[in-house]
Amino acid sequence: MATPVKVYGPTLSTAVSRVLACLLEKNVQFHLIPVNMAKGEHKKPDYLKIQPFGQVPAYQDEDITLFESRSINRYICDKYGSQGNKGLYGTNPLEKASIDQWIEAEGQSFNPPSSVLVFQLAFAPRMKLKQDENLIRQNEEKLKKVLDVYEKRLGDSQYLAGDEFTLADLSHLPNIQYLVNGTDRAELITSRENVGRWWGEISSRESWKKVVEMQTSPPPS
């Protein structure tokens, strides 16, 4: 039995939960190592040695240390190709190219406006920070345009990269989870027929339900 991989960071972080969803899809054993961000542990020298930008998550697997959630997920899929969901990152170069294209669309087009909205609408009130109405409006407009493209795409195929659930769909789960369940803007997703259908499918995967469970119930100590 291989040593479990280590993931550093809180499950509430969207980037951490992106990696956890992938590990669960791939049936990879992991240890979650808490990083107390309220105490600034992510900016301390020991942590900066494994994540030079002082952000979560960091990932360790045998002698390799990685960061950036989307890179970690690609590595997990390559290293653990033969276990769990085998088609998660495609099985040939053409499938991979299509998945990469939609992972990039997520990272470049979907994530910037949606993460602003998640922060402003779901986190700022909890942290007693003032919301920036202008920023919210601008990013909601940007996100709507992106989702209109998704709506069309998801009318042509069941999932973003084709007819199978892949890393490209998975990458969207953390932000949409907060948008739908942690803000009053759920209709951005649910009012669009194909996007809503897609969200229903990807969020009811066992892997993601488990992540949400980890987010809502504290780990046993």
Partner: protein, 213 residues
């Protein structure tokens, strides 16, 4: 010709794809897209890239968008052509992939804002917003401090050889090197040597040459 790149050479994302094709010594056709006329938001372009952004890419029947997905496709599919742009070991590949994401998630948002304010706006007769420039110069400085530490350990971001992780930075490095932002590179010896190395590559010179036509 089988490979087509749609978009204007001035676009950093188009340059990123063209530089990769030049590194790989591949023939391709550059198809102009008149962005002033809004052609990138209309058919037929919108069928190639539903987000209405340049570039779009075709290789035979395959159609792709997102410059970084295109460069990875080219580097994998044409592995035996031109210069090797990917490490051959899975662990080194993972490290390279980390730095590709750092470029896409951290460097590019800052680099493109600065490029837009300092280089593009004056070309379009618009006024540079000094506050935006100052804010992003500060962010870039902090980011480059991490690059400086990384580049002390290895010649390139992904290790000892040039990879896509370095190449993806080239368009912004090119634009910013011609501006006052260059002082941020010059103040960091390893970053400065890395920038000079990337911009001196023959494939990059050919890319710039093409952008002048």
């Amino acid at each position: 010709m089988a490979i087509k790149v749609h978009g204007p050479m001035m676009s950093p994302a188009v340059m990123r794809v063209v530089a990769t094709l030049k590194e790989k010594d591949l023939d391709f056709e550059l198809v102009p897209v008149n962005m002033q006329a809004g052609d990138h938001k209309k058919e037929p372009f919108i069928s190639l890239n539903p987000f209405g952004q340049v570039p779009a890419f075709e290789d035979g029947d395959l159609k792709l968008f997102e410059s970084r997905a295109i460069t990875q496709y080219i580097a994998h599919t044409y592995a035996d052509k031109g210069n090797q742009l990917l490490p051959n070991d899975p662990k080194k590949m993972a490290i390279m992939s980390v730095w590709m994401e750092v470029e896409a998630q951290k460097f590019d948002p800052i680099g493109s804002k600065l490029g837009f304010e300092i280089v593009i706006k004056p070309m379009l007769g618009m006024v540079t917003d000094d506050a935006v420039v100052a804010e992003n110069e500060e962010k870039l400085g902090k980011l480059l401090d991490v690059y400086e530490s990384r580049l002390k350990e290895s010649k390139y971001l992904g290790g000892e050889s040039f990879t896509l992780a370095d190449l993806h930075h080239a368009p912004s490095l090119h634009y910013l090197s011609g501006s006052k932002v260059k002082s941020l590179f010059d103040a960091r010896p390893h970053v400065s040597a890395w920038v000079a190395d990337i911009l001196a590559r023959p494939a990059w010179s050919k890319t710039i040459e093409l952008s002048k036509h």
